[in-house]
């Protein structure tokens, strides 16, 4: 247990195993914290107190009978775009305000099979479209480090909950940075795995060739423990991959040598690349300084660092904001008011019913993206936009393929700016899109990446992003862990009490 009375997964798991605390006590402690703090942080759309206490009791029986794993009895939050049977899953949208899934997403099923405790569902930008959590149809989440600021998005609820100590860990989803960017802005760890490593079954679709479920936790080892529980092929998601590693966490336990990165790469020393294109114009000085300092730390830990170039990066924003909305416009066509969700009834005309259902059910950002996609896919514009963006996607991928011939991983800022004020950017979609400039290329190429705390600028957390080749999670976690163990940033906590 940390000084502030909060647990990491490992600490919770150890305390549960040796009987220092029961899962019921632990769960009550977190429910109390939610009760006390979430009126200000607002990270939960739904709190499932009753279910959590039932699950905690079941977990205590499992622990007593010796049938437990590292997540058994540990309380978590799940982003409200991930289906949970019998628990409302709103996607932060009026459209699904009253939607109650009749099945669990594969990730939820796998967590529950391990005996996880669900505290509730995390706030999100509507259908995971946004970078500040302000697009939630219900309310904005506040950054625990400064309640006047955004937590980032779209998985802002998860990042804020973990930072505020309202959940031990959280599941989010990351289509263009939605796990890493809020993790960065809230000073916690966020992992976006390789496309396909985690089943998307039960994740409400936004842009299917980009969407990936990810983990938000206090530290790298905890992140690896959650990945262990949820990674791997699933017959209900044909894009899911066989996991190459049976264990992502055990190499992170135990003491590290003085220079752990001097002998951990493909050729011994870990080779890190610093892509100049990610140090963009408009990047805050404090962010640049923190990231430069972190690169120095990685060198001191034994890594060799070299500048690299990914020239197609400058096309990533256009590539993403053509392709993701195109996929979104197709995916969200399902909200027609017939099978589930909000349904406008005040007409006998089928088209009017559908158009009014979507008019009233969707918020402005979702409408913008659906319309943008419909435009990019429409006759006469398909080649100029959709096809061109798909070709740009190839070039962006090739840049990464080439650079990963030279280095094991890339080091970049996660976000060019720290958490901004609520309301500051919400009326300017283009400015909001630019915040994701360092995270989008990763989803375009389907790569794994992790954001970890690397300092503060103006009292607000800065995130360091490590990007690796496909399915390199184990090495990426190892590098991240080495950095984390050499620094104290992950121990910093916002003063909410």
């Amino acid at each position: 247990m940390d000084g502030d009375g909060l647990f990491t997964i490992r600490q919770a798991s150890e305390s549960l195993a040796n009987g220092k605390i029961s899962s019921a006590e632990l769960t009550r402690m977190y429910l109390d914290r939610i009760e006390r703090l979430d009126g200000r942080v607002r990270s939960f759309i739904t709190v499932t107190a009753e279910l959590a206490l039932q699950q905690a009791q079941a977990a205590d029986s499992r622990i007593a009978s010796g049938d437990s794993g590292p997540l058994t009895g540990v309380p978590a939050q799940i982003k409200d775009v991930i289906c949970t049977k019998g628990v409302p899953t709103t996607c932060g949208s009026r459209m699904l305000e009253n939607y109650v899934p009749v099945y669990d997403a594969t990730v939820a099923e796998r967590l529950f099979a391990q005996g996880a405790v669900l505290l509730g569902k995390g706030n999100t930008d509507e259908f995971a479209m946004g970078s500040s959590c302000e697009n939630s149809a219900f309310f904005s989440t506040h950054n625990p480090w400064d309640l006047d600021r955004v937590p980032g998005g779209s998985s802002g609820g998860g990042a804020a909950a973990v930072a505020a100590g309202e959940a031990v860990y959280a599941l989010g989803s990351d289509t263009g940075g939605s796990v890493r960017q809020p993790a960065s802005m809230c000073g916690v760890v966020g992992l976006k795995p390789t496309y396909g490593l985690i089943s998307r079954f039960g994740l409400v679709a936004y842009a299917s060739s980009f969407d990936q479920i990810g983990v938000i936790a206090k530290n790298v080892a905890d992140t690896a423990l959650v990945l262990n529980a949820i990674a791997g092929q699933d017959h209900r998601d044909s894009t899911s991959l066989t996991r190459p590693e049976s264990d992502y966490a055990s190499h992170l336990m135990g003491d590290l040598p003085a220079r752990p990165l001097a002998n951990a790469g493909r050729d011994g020393v870990v080779r890190l690349g610093v892509p100049e294109e990610y140090f963009v114009e408009g990047m805050q000085d404090g962010v640049r300084e923190a990231v430069q300092k972190a690169i120095g730390t990685l060198e001191a830990l034994g890594a060799s660092v070299q500048p690299v170039s990914l020239p197609s990066t400058r096309h990533a924003l256009a590539c993403y904001y053509i392709l993701a909305p195109s996929e979104c416009s197709a995916n969200l066509a399902r909200y027609d008011g017939v099978k589930y969700g909000y349904s406008y009834q005040d007409t006998n005309d089928m088209w009017e019913a559908m158009e009014q259902t979507r008019h009233q059910g969707f918020g402005p950002e979702v409408k913008r993206r659906i319309m943008l996609g419909a435009y990019a896919l429409s006759a006469g514009y398909y080649d100029a936009y959709y096809l061109k963006a798909q070709q740009a996607r190839t070039l962006i991928r090739r840049d990464f393929d080439q650079v990963f011939q030279q280095v094991d991983a890339l080091v970049t800022p996660t976000s060019p700016v720290v958490a901004f004020r609520l309301g500051e950017k919400i009326d300017d979609p283009v400015e909001m899109y630019l915040i994701d400039v360092c995270t989008l290329p990763v989803n375009i190429a389907g790569l794994p990446a992790i954001s970890l705390p690397c300092g503060f600028s103006e009292g607000l957390p800065v995130g360091l992003q490590l990007i690796g080749p496909h399915l390199s999670e184990k090495r990426l976690l190892g590098i991240a862990h080495a950095y984390e163990q050499a620094t104290e940033w992950h121990r910093a906590r916002p003063g909410l009490e």
Partner: protein, 96 residues
Amino acid sequence: MPLSRTEVLQIATLARIALTDDEVELFQEQLSEILDQFEALKDLDTSGVPPTGHAVDLQAVMREDEARDSLDLEDVLSNAPRREREYFRVKAVLEE
């Protein structure tokens, strides 16, 4: 090039979203600004570059064609805005 009001209304029809006059004006301005950001792509030489639909190379996944349980009918209909017996009830599709 800025989108015209007519173009915004055409896109809204394609997307099956009714818009208020204020929304038409707002989206006309905002979508035009976003499309401006895409202009940079025009300078990108993509001759001979194949398109990428999925970032990870995937093989078709095969499995035995075995019968599996499907969802319970009552469950499936539990979120239906309107149902009649074991059906979703929809507005008339064919005009009289």
